[in-house]
């Protein structure tokens, strides 16, 4: 039986009168890429932020690697976070630091007794794996949107996480760069043996990267399964329109 690394049950989250998640159930199995699709504001990002303890659910449970996230103290939560890589929508690179310093930041704080040589080697290795070794001494403001996304992913990879959470990895990028990012997600999955959740509303990204797709509609998963299963035989008008809009079906 395949191990479930993330398990959410009856997850409820509201912001004042806005009910974002209304009883979400989710299982993420080791080694798979799960794509969570949904409209803007449907609660996709909220879902993964609850998984890393950036937000707390109102009701329900989230177990990550067997641990109930909301019951962890700050030390335990930090230990869990080291096993999770979180790639932010806007990359969230530290503006005042160079690319090298951005990558070193989690490393120096979480890996003890690391020599400068080892540190440099790890930074260069992970930068090379996202194909941006040449940007090592540049500032984030000097990078393009696609490069920033790649560096953001590299920063999360440096601690070699077991789970990767991608928040809108292709948002705001041109189609060619989107394809590069999609390929990178697949390469990361293969090379680092990660299990991933990819939050997106880009169906091409979902098709290329996802082993399984789940569509978030009105605070719960409206459909889930393989891409073709979910979209090609969709009966729900909202899922159909999502597909039609993305692929410009007449």
């Amino acid at each position: 039986m395949i191990e479930s690394v993330v398990q959410a049950r009856n997850l409820v989250k509201s912001f004042d009168d806005l009910h974002v998640l209304r009883g979400v159930d989710l299982d993420l199995f080791r080694g798979e890429n799960l794509v969570v699709l949904g409209k803007s504001g449907s609660g996709k990002s909220v879902l993964i932020k609850i998984m890393v303890g950036l937000l707390t659910q109102d009701e329900g449970s989230v177990k990550v690697l067997g641990q109930e996230v909301k019951d962890l103290n700050s030390k335990q939560l930090n230990e869990l976070r080291l096993k999770i890589g979180f790639s932010f929508q806007a990359s969230a690179l530290y503006d005042s630091m160079t690319v090298r310093e951005n990558l070193e930041f989690p490393l120096v704080r979480n890996v003890k007794n690391l020599s400068k040589r080892e540190k440099d080697k790890m930074v260069e290795e992970v930068l090379d794996s996202v194909g941006l070794l040449q940007t090592i001494n540049q500032m984030p403001s000097e990078l393009s949107g696609g490069q920033r996304k790649r560096i953001g992913i590299a920063r999360t990879l440096i601690l070699q996480p077991e789970i990767m959470l991608y928040d809108e990895p292709t948002a705001g990028l041109d189609p060619i760069t989107c394809m590069d990012i999609n390929n990178l997600i697949n390469q990361v999955n293969e090379k680092y043996k990660t299990t991933s959740i990819i939050i997106t509303h880009d169906l091409t990204c979902a098709k290329v990267t996802g082993d399984r797709v789940a569509v978030l509609l009105d605070g719960t998963f409206g459909a889930s399964g393989k891409f073709e299963e979910v979209f090609e035989n969709a009966e729900d008008g909202r899922i159909k329109s999502f597909y039609d809009y993305n692929f410009i079906k007449q």
Partner: protein
């Protein structure tokens, strides 16, 4: 009519709620600072970097302002003393005014504008671009890295800047006194130090430490709690300056009362 007054009551009650919630959140923020400052990991590198930003980068502005304050205050005070034929008391008058009040106050107000706003804007923009969340998910305590380091740096550096401003303002005063009364440098500074007591210097330094802490914590609090995108960043920077300046004047008033109490002992 009664419907209108109920609406007004609701608005007032909401404002009162917001005020007390703000007070509570500020109290919790300060409490968290004092809780986290003692325990490792210590971000020494970041504290030193911030000391450089706050201290060294403020020097040109502080030098210019301090010098001008010294020159202008001396010039404005001369006619009043000249009426009593007491222009020889200028160095003593200036030293007391500069060390007791003007040096710390001018430095703190300038730092509130320059340092407070930059801390508020920097942390605010980090908050709205999810950089603070990124630190958190990489198992780093952003409060320690961003807030504790900046508050410590401003608490250390403002007293140093105050001493520097005092010196530059006295230098400005000397230039003016020398040009008009032909007083020598040594005579000027002998009179300056004769007029000062131990209490003047310690009270000035103690209040500078409080001003530094205020500037740092207010800037960090406003930035850390900023919302609503870039508009929120601007608001955070602006309210950091306004709130810090307001608190600095209140602290100045309180410190005057406390110092006077000790002076009378």
């Amino acid at each position: 009519m009664s419907g209108e007054s109920t609406k007004k009551d609701k608005v007032i009650s909401k404002r009162i709620d917001r005020f007390f919630m703000g007070l509570e959140s500020a109290y919790l923020f300060v409490k968290r600072f004092f809780k986290e400052v003692w325990f490792p990991p210590y971000e020494f590198k970041e504290v030193i970097r911030q000391c450089y930003q706050i201290g060294y980068n403020s020097l040109p502005l502080i030098s210019l302002t301090g010098f001008i304050v010294g020159v202008v205050f001396t010039n404005q005070s001369r006619p009043s003393l000249a009426e009593f034929g007491a222009t020889s008391w200028l160095p003593a008058l200036i030293s007391i005014a500069v060390i007791r009040a003007m040096g710390p106050l001018v430095t703190a107000l300038i730092a509130a504008g320059k340092v407070g706003s930059s801390i508020g804007a920097e942390i605010g923009s980090m908050k709205v671009t999810e950089q603070i969340d990124a630190m958190e998910v990489s198992a780093t305590n952003p409060f320690k890295f961003l807030v504790v380091s900046r508050v410590l740096a401003s608490t250390f550096m403002i007293p140093v800047l105050v001493l520097y401003t005092d010196f530059v303002a006295l230098l400005g005063a000397f230039v003016n006194v020398h040009a008009n009364e032909m007083t020598s440098l040594s005579t000027f500074f002998v009179q300056v130090f004769d007029a000062l007591s131990f209490l003047d210097i310690t009270s000035s330094l103690v209040k500078s430490v409080i001003f530094g802490f205020t500037i740092g914590i207010v800037g960090c609090y406003k930035g850390y709690n900023s919302t609503k995108g870039t508009e929120g960043v601007g608001k955070a920077a602006n309210s950091a300056v306004v709130m810090a300046m307001f608190l600095i004047f209140i602290e100045e008033l309180l410190s005057l009362q406390v110092t006077n109490f000790f002076r009378q002992l």
